[in-house]
C-alpha cells in the first residue's frame, strides 16, 4: 500500500510524498515483537529508508506505466539505502522519474548526479526539480503538490456528499438543518490509503501549529489527543501513531459521563488537550469538549479537524484550530454545503 500516491489524469503523472511514506513505514509497518519496546518513529523521521523505497517499487509493479513519476523529498534530509538500484528500478516503471525538493547529498548517495538535465532547478543546496534524464524537459509541468492534494481532496469530499431527505436534515448535535451531509466515514472506509495520507497531512500541520517538536515530554507539555466519537477516534488513533501523542477517548459526552464523574476524572489537571474532529460545522461538539476539558482542570489548546466549515469571516474567528480542508464561500459552489434554520424554511 502507498498512501500518498496522487494521480493526475491530465498530465498522466503520479506524485508521491516520500516523507509521508517514510512516516507510514515508521509508524505502522516496522515489525516489532518486543513487548517492552513500544516506541515508533512517527512523522519525526527525516531519513528515507530502503524498505519505504522498496514498498513504492512494489506498488508500481501492479500499476500501469505512467508518463511522469514525481517523488517529493520535502522533509527528507538523508537516505539509507543498501540497494541504490531501487531507484533505477523505479525509473523503469515510468517514462520520466523526477525528484522535487531534494538536497544534493541525497542525489549523490542515490548515485544519479550524472543526470544533468538543463531543466533542473536548484535553490542553494536543494534541487527544486531534478529530472533523471539528460534531456530538456521544459514541456513537463510539475504541479504544486499542495494544490494537487487540495483538488483531489475536494473531489473525494464531493463523492461523500449526501442529500438528506427531509426527515434526516436536523444536525445531530447543533440546532440547525443540514440539507447536504458530508459523510466523511465514507472517505475513511472507501479511500483508506488516501485518508491515512490526509491524517498524515493533518499531523504535519499540527506539528507546526502547536510546535510539538519543541515540547518536552518530561515536562508533560505534549498535548493529548481528545476524541469523543467513532470517526474522531479513528483519526485520533492514526494521529497518535504519527505524532507519538497520548490519547483520551470519551465515548460521547452522554450517559457514560456519569461513570467518569464517579470514577476519578480522566482529564488530568494542567495537561494540554487538542480536540480531534472529522468535520466541524458550527463547533458545538468542540465547544462541549472544550468545556469538559477546562472544567475538569485540563487545558484545551485547540481543535484539529479534517474539514472545517467557514461560518465566520477569518477576522472574526478567534478559535485556535487546524484543518485539512476548509469549506469556504469560494469553493462551496462545488460542494453545495448549506446550513439552514427554521427561519429560512
Amino acid at each position: 500500500m502507498v498512501i500518498s500516491a496522487i494521480f493526475n489524469k491530465t498530465t498522466e503523472s503520479v506524485y508521491i510524498n516520500l516523507h509521508a511514506e517514510q512516516s507510514f513505514t515508521g509508524s505502522f509497518l516496522i515489525f516489532n515483537d518486543d513487548i517492552e519496546n513500544n516506541i515508533i518513529e512517527g512523522v519525526y523521521q527525516s531519513l528515507l529508508k530502503e524498505d519505504t523505497v522498496k514498498r513504492i517499487n512494489d506498488f508500481f509493479d501492479s500499476e500501469k506505466k505512467t508518463k511522469l513519476l514525481v517523488l517529493d523529498f520535502n522533509y527528507i534530509d538523508d537516505i539509507q539505502l543498501n540497494k541504490p538500484d531501487l531507484f533505477v528500478s523505479l525509473k523503469e516503471k515510468t517514462e520520466l522519474l523526477t525528484f522535487i525538493n531534494i538536497n544534493k547529498e541525497i542525489i549523490d548517495k542515490v548515485g544519479v548526479s550524472f543526470f544533468n538535465s538543463p531543466s533542473n532547478i536548484t535553490n542553494g543546496n536543494i534541487y527544486e526539480q531534478f529530472f533523471l534524464t539528460e534531456k530538456e524537459c521544459n514541456e513537463i509541468q510539475i504541479l504544486g503538490t499542495d494544490e494537487l492534494f487540495e483538488n483531489v481532496f475536494l473531489q473525494k469530499l464531493i463523492e461523500c456528499k449526501e442529500t438528506q431527505d427531509s426527515g434526516k436534515k436536523k444536525h445531530h448535535s447543533s440546532s440547525v438543518y443540514l440539507p447536504v451531509f458530508l459523510d466523511l466515514k465514507k472517505m475513511m472506509i472507501n479511500e483508506r490509503p488516501f485518508f491515512i495520507y490526509v491524517v498524515y497531512m493533518l499531523a504535519m500541520k499540527m506539528r507546526i501549529k502547536w510546535e510539538i517538536d519543541d515540547l518536552d515530554e518530561q515536562e508533560n507539555n505534549k498535548p493529548i489527543l481528545f476524541c469523543q466519537n467513532l470517526n474522531s477516534s479513528y483519526i485520533a488513533s492514526i494521529l497518535s501513531s504519527f505524532l507519538k501523542l497520548d490519547l483520551l477517548s470519551m465515548d460521547h459526552i452522554g450517559p457514560i459521563n456519569k461513570v467518569y464523574s464517579n470514577l476519578k476524572n480522566r482529564i488530568q489537571e494542567g495537561l494540554n488537550y487538542i480536540v480531534i474532529s472529522d468535520l466541524v460545522c458550527l463547533g458545538t461538539e468542540v465547544k462541549i469538549c472544550k468545556n469538559v476539558i477546562n472544567y475538569s482542570g485540563g487545558k484545551y489548546i485547540g481543535n484539529a479537524s479534517i474539514v472545517r466549515v467557514e461560518t465566520l469571516h477569518p477576522e472574526d474567528d478567534y478559535s485556535n484550530y487546524e484543518y485539512i480542508f476548509k469549506i469556504t464561500k469560494e469553493n462551496n459552489s462545488e460542494i453545495g454545503y448549506v446550513i439552514e434554520t427554521a427561519l429560512m424554511q
Binding site: D33, K185, K186, L263
Partner: protein
C-alpha cells in the same frame, strides 16, 4: 465396593479459656477449648463422631479436610489440644494421613511470633515474610504428619479419592500480625501446578485452602481475599482445569456454581451460636457419586441445632439440613459424561448397533492453529495484565450496560488506551493473535470506540477493507452515519471483528443478527473471527464455546436461564482473546429494579452505560 465420604471441617478455633494475663474469659466462644476440665469439649467431639458414624455405615471409607483456623491464637496449648482432637478423629473414623488434608488459616499464624521476628530483625523485610509466624503451626503439622511443614510452598499436600485429587494450599502468604487477606503468589502457583500437572492428568481437581475466595455472608465480591490476586488465582486454577474450590474462614456455610465452577464453604465446626448474627456450627460431608450421565460429589450439610430440651446436651444435636432451602447446591458435578446415541443400520436379518458421540455432530468451527490454547502462554497477556493492575482500571461496583447486561466489575479499557505506548502495545497484541493464529479475512470491523482504536493497526498492516460500528447496545447514542458500515458486502466471506471485551458473545451476536443482518447474511459470510483484548466470561475457554449452539440453548433452558432463547443459532464465530479477566455478573434478572435492594433503595452508586430511560 466401598463407598467414599469426605468430611470437611473448618474453623475449630481451639482456644484458651483465659486471656494472656490469665484472667478467665467470660465467654469461651468455641466449643473447643484447652480446659481439660470442661467436659463439654469431649461431649461435643463425641457427638460429632457419633453423627458421622450413624449417618454413614461401615461400608464407608472417610477422608477429612481441615480448612484452617484450627486454633484461635496459634498458641502451643491450643495446637496441643488440636492434635488430640485430630488424632481422635483419625482413630475413631479410621483415617490415616493419606486421607487427611490440613491447611493453615490466619488464626494458625502466631501474630506475636511474627511481630517479634519483624521487630528484632529491624523490619528488614515485609512483615508477612517472617517464617517465625508458622513456627507453632509447623510443630503441630509435624506432630500430625511426621513430616516438616514447608512454609515456602503454596501446595502443601494432595489426597486422592478415586479420580479426584484434593490439593491443599496455603493462602496465608500476606498474613502478618495485623491480619490480612487470602493471597497466593500467582507465579509460584503456576510453577507448582505445572510440576504436578502430568501426575494428575485425568483427575478432577479440587483446590482446598482456608480463606473464602467468594463471600456467602460478607457484602462484597472478594470475600476475604486480595481483590486483584483473587482474579489471578481463579484464572490460574481454571486454566489448570480445577472445577472446585473448598474453603472455610467465613463461619457461614455456602456453596454455589457459576458457569460450571464451584465454590464451597464449610462454615465453622467450633464457633458457638451466641448471637443472632452468628451462624450455627456446621460441617459438610461429600459422597462420591457416579452414574451414566455424570461423576459428582453429593453435598451434605450438617448444622448444630439446639432444641433447648431439658434432656439434651448444652450444645444441642447435629442434623442434616435441606440444602435447597438454604440456597445451597446438592451436587458438585465434576465430570459431565457425553450422551451416547445408538443408531441402527438396517441389515436384512441382523441388526447392528453403532454408537457415535454427540460431539461429532456439532458444527463448532475448530481452529487447529491457535497458538494460545492457554492464554497464560501469551506474553502480551502478562504485560497487559500488569498494566491493568498498575493503572487500577479493574473496578468493582455496580455496572449496567443494559437491563439484561449487568456486572459487579468493569474493565476500563479506555484508560488503558491513553498512554501512546500502551495503545501500541494493545494494538500489537491484537495483531499478534491475527498473525500467530493465521486468521484469514476479507474485511475488518472495529467495534466501539476502543475496538476502533485497537483495530487501526491491524487494518493498516494487513491492508484490508475496514469499517467501524458502535456496540450493539449503544446504537441509539450514536448519530445515523455512525451506525452505518458505509460499505456493502459484495463478496466478503470472512470477517474479522476487533473489540475490547467479550463476555458472553451477546454483543457480537446482536451485531450480526439485529444490526447488520444483510451484511452478515449466511449466504455471504462463512466465517466470523472475533478478537478481543479481554475475555471476561467464566467459561473454561474452548474455541467456539460462546457460540450460540443448540446445545448451549438447551443447557441454559435447563438452568432456567431464558436470556438467549430468542437468539438464532450462530455457529460461524470463532473467538480469540489476548487476556482473560473474569467479571462477576450480577445475579439479578430483568426484574432487578424490584428485586435488587441496591437499585431499588439506591443504596449504592450504579454506573449506567446506557440511557435507562429510553
Amino acid at each position: 465396593m466401598r463407598k467414599k465420604a469426605i468430611i470437611h471441617i473448618s474453623d475449630l478455633h481451639v482456644m484458651l479459656p483465659t486471656f494472656r494475663n490469665l484472667e478467665p474469659k467470660k465467654e469461651i466462644k468455641s466449643w473447643f477449648n484447652t480446659n481439660n476440665n470442661d467436659l463439654d469439649v469431649e461431649r461435643y467431639l463425641d457427638k460429632f463422631i457419633e453423627i458421622i458414624k450413624s449417618t454413614y455405615d461401615e461400608d464407608y471409607d472417610f477422608s477429612i479436610l481441615v480448612t484452617g483456623d484450627i486454633t484461635d491464637e496459634a498458641q502451643d496449648e491450643e495446637f496441643s489440644k488440636a492434635t488430640e482432637i485430630i488424632n481422635r478423629l483419625k482413630s475413631e473414623l479410621n483415617v490415616n494421613n493419606d486421607n487427611l488434608l490440613i491447611v493453615p488459616g490466619d488464626h494458625d499464624v502466631n501474630w506475636r511470633d511474627c511481630e517479634n521476628a519483624f521487630e528484632s530483625d529491624d523490619r528488614q523485610k515485609k512483615s508477612y515474610l517472617y517464617k517465625e509466624k508458622y513456627n507453632r503451626f509447623s510443630n503441630f503439622y509435624k506432630e500430625i504428619y511426621e513430616t516438616d511443614f514447608d512454609y515456602e510452598k503454596v501446595i502443601l499436600k494432595e489426597i486422592i479419592i478415586e479420580n479426584i485429587v484434593f490439593i491443599g494450599m496455603n493462602s496465608n502468604y500476606k498474613i502478618d500480625f495485623c491480619g490480612g487477606n487470602g493471597f497466593i503468589k500467582k507465579k509460584q502457583l503456576i510453577e507448582e501446578l505445572s510440576q504436578i500437572k502430568e501426575k494428575y492428568n485425568g483427575y478432577s481437581k479440587i483446590a482446598v485452602f482456608h480463606h473464602n475466595i467468594t463471600p456467602f455472608y460478607q457484602n462484597n465480591t472478594n470475600g476475604q481475599w486480595d481483590k486483584d490476586n483473587r482474579i489471578e488465582v481463579l484464572e490460574v486454577l481454571k486454566s489448570f482445569q480445577f472445577k472446585v474450590v473448598m474453603f472455610g474462614n467465613e463461619h457461614t456455610t455456602g456453596s454455589k456454581e457459576e458457569d460450571q465452577f464451584y465454590y464451597v464453604g464449610a462454615g465453622s465446626l467450633g464457633m458457638k451460636l451466641l448471637t443472632d448474627k452468628d451462624a450455627p456450627p456446621s460441617f459438610k460431608v461429600y459422597n462420591v457419586f457416579e452414574d451414566n450421565s455424570h461423576y459428582s460429589l453429593e453435598q451434605n450439610l450438617f448444622h448444630l441445632i439446639n432444641s433447648n430440651k431439658n434432656n439434651s446436651t448444652s450444645f444441642g444435636k447435629w442434623g442434616i439440613q435441606n440444602l435447597i432451602q438454604l440456597d445451597e447446591i446438592n451436587e458438585i458435578i465434576l465430570i459431565q459424561k457425553p450422551k451416547i446415541e445408538a443408531t441402527e443400520t438396517n441389515i436384512i436379518g441382523d441388526k447392528e448397533i453403532s454408537i457415535e458421540a454427540e460431539n461429532s455432530k456439532q458444527n463448532i468451527p475448530k481452529k487447529e492453529n491457535y497458538p494460545y490454547q492457554n492464554y497464560l502462554d501469551n506474553k502480551y497477556h502478562h504485560k497487559i495484565f500488569s498494566r491493568v493492575k498498575e493503572l487500577k482500571i479493574f473496578h468493582s461496583g455496580h455496572f449496567h450496560w443494559s437491563d439484561n447486561s449487568k456486572a459487579h466489575n468493569w474493565i476500563e479499557v479506555a484508560k488503558l488506551l491513553n498512554d501512546k505506548e500502551d495503545v501500541l502495545l494493545c494494538k500489537k497484541a491484537i495483531l499478534d493473535i491475527v498473525e500467530k493464529s493465521e486468521i484469514e479475512f476479507d474485511f475488518i470491523i472495529g467495534l466501539g470506540i476502543e475496538g476502533n482504536i485497537l483495530a487501526t493497526r491491524t487494518a493498516i498492516v494487513k491492508n484490508k477493507p475496514y469499517s467501524f460500528l458502535p456496540y450493539s447496545y449503544r446504537y441509539e447514542d450514536h448519530a445515523d452515519y455512525e451506525q452505518r458500515l458505509s460499505i456493502k458486502n459484495n463478496g466478503f466471506e470472512k470477517i474479522l471483528i476487533i473489540t475490547d471485551v467479550v463476555h458472553d458473545g451477546n454483543t457480537i451476536r446482536n451485531l450480526i443478527n439485529d444490526k447488520e443482518p444483510l451484511f452478515f447474511d449466511k449466504s455471504k459470510v462463512k466465517e466470523i473471527h472475533v478478537i478481543s483484548l479481554f475475555y471476561s466470561g467464566k467459561d473454561e475457554y474452548e474455541l467456539g464455546l460462546i457460540n450460540m449452539t443448540q446445545e448451549k440453548k438447551e443447557k441454559e433452558k435447563d438452568k432456567n436461564n431464558l436470556k438467549h432463547q430468542h437468539q438464532p443459532i450462530e455457529e460461524r464465530i470463532q473467538f480469540y482473546f489476548v487476556s482473560k479477566m473474569i467479571v462477576e455478573t450480577c445475579p439479578y434478572g430483568s426484574d432487578f429494579r424490584e428485586t435488587c435492594m441496591i437499585v431499588k433503595h439506591k443504596l449504592d452508586c450504579v454506573h449506567e452505560f446506557y440511557d435507562a430511560n429510553k
